[in-house]
């Protein structure tokens, strides 16, 4: 039987946690994304056109939005867990009858909420630069949710595995950041040399961002169905890994 109240409480606690520091968790990432937009859009607008008839700024906005979504989803679950582990207050949750599945779903759902909130902030403020009609709202929301669920789960895995802030920072800087930068946020993978184009196809972030771009612009590097299938598979795999870790008590229950 599912402990719905317990699941909801963990979710609520995680949402309350990031809402108590909104400047750091929502406003700052929105401003950062806008700075990227200011610099890249101003410099490259006149020189680069990725898809025919679509200005570079319009191409950039979905990518930047999605990059903010996934980075913040990862930050939410991973930083909450590492802080709770370091300060020792994770014990309150570990002493409770919340199951590993409920634990994971609650943390991931809260990460999705933060991801979507930051994404909405970036997308709305970006409208001051160029008004973008959303071609397929359903696809856009689906990929935003999927991307944040993927990174939220990866954040749980990283937060549980890390013993120190330094280890988590290494994961964030050497895995999440490069994968999100090299996922077609600033360019189409078709503009890459053949080898790097092939390498990019192994990057799960690429499918999340490309699918989201399809939802906004109606054009993408690969079919949204392919992105859905590949992205969905990655989500399921990382969730399975996360669940095994939580069930076995890896690094949580010695």
């Amino acid at each position: 039987m599912i402990n719905w109240r317990g699941l909801y409480t963990v979710f609520r606690k995680e949402v309350m946690r990031f809402l108590k520091v909104t400047v750091q968790t929502v406003l700052t990432p929105v401003v950062t994304a806008l700075l990227y937009l200011l610099v890249f859009a101003q410099v490259l607008e006149e020189h680069v056109q990725i898809y025919p008839g679509i200005p570079y700024t319009a191409f950039l906005i979905p990518g930047l939005t999605m990059m903010s979504v996934i980075q913040n989803a990862f930050a939410n679950s991973s930083s909450s867990l590492i802080q709770s582990k370091m300060t020792g207050n994770l014990v309150f949750l570990l002493l409770s009858p919340v199951s590993p599945g409920e634990f994971m779903v609650a943390f991931v759902a809260a990460a999705v909420v933060r991801g979507l909130l930051v994404g909405a902030g970036v997308f709305l403020v970006a409208q001051f630069f160029i008004t973008l009609p959303v071609s397929h709202v359903g696809w856009a929301l689906l990929f935003a949710a999927m991307g944040s669920a993927f990174l939220g789960t990866l954040g749980v895995v990283a937060g549980v595995s890390s013993d120190k802030f330094e280890q988590l920072a290494a994961f964030q800087n050497f895995v999440v950041l490069p994968l999100s930068f090299l996922s077609g946020v600033f360019y189409s993978i078709h503009s890459l040399p053949s080898l790097w184009e092939q390498v990019s196809r192994f990057n799960p972030f690429f499918y999340m961002i490309d699918g989201f771009r399809y939802g906004i612009l109606g054009v993408s590097d690969v079919s949204p169905w392919v992105s859905l299938a590949v992205g969905g598979t990655f989500v399921l795999v990382v969730m399975a890994i996360c669940l095994v870790m939580l069930r076995t008590g890896y690094k949580l229950r010695q």
């Binding site: 402990n3 719905w4 109240r5 317990g6 909801y8 409480t9 963990v10 609520r12 606690k13 309350m16 946690r17 108590k20 709770s84 300060t87 020792g88 207050n89 014990v91 309150f92 949750l93 570990l94 002493l95 409770s96 009858p97 919340v98 199951s99 008590g249 229950r253 010695q254």
Partner: protein, 305 residues
């Protein structure tokens, strides 16, 4: 009587280190039970396995009949643990934290009255809307106790609850734990303060190097040590004692002498007569019964020897 906690051959190895070596005993429902032992004895490991924070290498623990690994939802619902460390979540107020903890255990708004009662009883009402970060150590300790009780557990574990707290708070916590016990909760107390265990507990287990060295009621445990101390101040600190008394001396510093007397074999009157015959007169005299501390020291010393 129903068993509140049953430890079945519980072993825990950390590589070559055997933290628990087949601990096997039961705590009855309604008992005030003391778990004593020096640092590294295995007390915290045992508590942590009971709480599901550590997995045993072998054996199992049942809380109110529920296996803490296989039936963890039921066992954790029956168990409230007050951790030893002063941990808290700096994002939340006292009231928010209690509501969250209550929610983890599946309790919703219907539990508000109980949370209010906990705040009242633990003298936290005036701090309910303060951030946990801003509370004193003593107040944080009270919040930890409240958190452990949000779901009204049948078994309450207090892991070194009075470590580092002032005398006033220690007395308040003793009073509160007695009240919990009187309300029908089974209390498991781990402590370094033997006076605390002697004052509060009905039955005591002494753990040493992962083994249960003694497990008995408090009077029975104290009766294991049938000695009393006779502390004397003699008129002449230089004069040697009669040979028959030398074997009883545990401490001598000038005119102050402490003798350890067997309650049955060594009569105080005979000791005083022997001293008189040796030309000593008594300036001062007092006796002290051996306490739990002496039993504890002897058991742990024997084990170490």
């Amino acid at each position: 009587m129903t068993e509140a906690v049953r430890f079945q051959e519980v072993r825990k190895d950390y590589g070559e280190l055997h933290a628990l070596r087949g601990v096997d005993f039961a705590i009855e429902e309604g008992e005030f039970f003391g778990l004593l032992g020096p640092n590294g004895a295995g007390k915290s490991t045992l508590i942590n396995i009971m709480a599901g924070l550590v997995r045993p290498t072998s054996g199992r623990i049942l809380v109110m009949g529920y296996d803490v690994v296989r039936q963890y939802r039921h066992s954790r619902d029956a168990l409230g643990v007050v951790p030893q460390e002063l941990v808290y979540d700096p994002f939340f107020t006292v009231r928010e934290m209690l509501r969250l903890q209550s929610g983890y255990f599946g309790r919703g708004p219907e539990n508000e009255a109980w949370l209010g009662e906990l705040l009242e009883v633990l003298d936290l009402s005036h701090k309910a809307d303060d951030n946990l970060h801003d509370l004193s150590g003593g107040m944080k300790r009270r919040v930890l106790i409240a958190q452990a009780l949000v779901h009204k557990p049948q078994v309450v574990v207090l892991d070194e609850p009075t470590a580092g707290v002032d005398v006033e708070l220690r007395m308040a916590l003793w009073h509160f734990t007695r009240r919990l016990h009187a309300a029908g909760h089974t209390i498991v107390l781990t402590t370094h303060y033997l006076e605390e265990a002697e004052t509060l507990c009905d039955r005591i287990a002494i753990l040493h190097h992962g083994d249960v060295r003694a497990l008995d009621s408090k009077p029975a445990l104290l009766a294991r040590h049938p000695y009393r101390l006779l502390c004397l101040t003699l008129s002449d600190g230089e004069k040697p004692l009669p040979p028959a008394l030398e074997r009883l001396v545990t401490e001598r510093e000038g005119a102050s002498v402490t003798l350890r007397l067997h309650k049955l074999d060594d009569q105080i009157g005979a000791v005083l007569d022997a001293l008189k015959q040796a030309g000593q007169s008594i300036v001062d005299l007092r006796t002290r019964d051996m306490g739990l501390e002496d039993v504890f020291l002897e058991l742990t010393h024997e084990a170490a020897a």
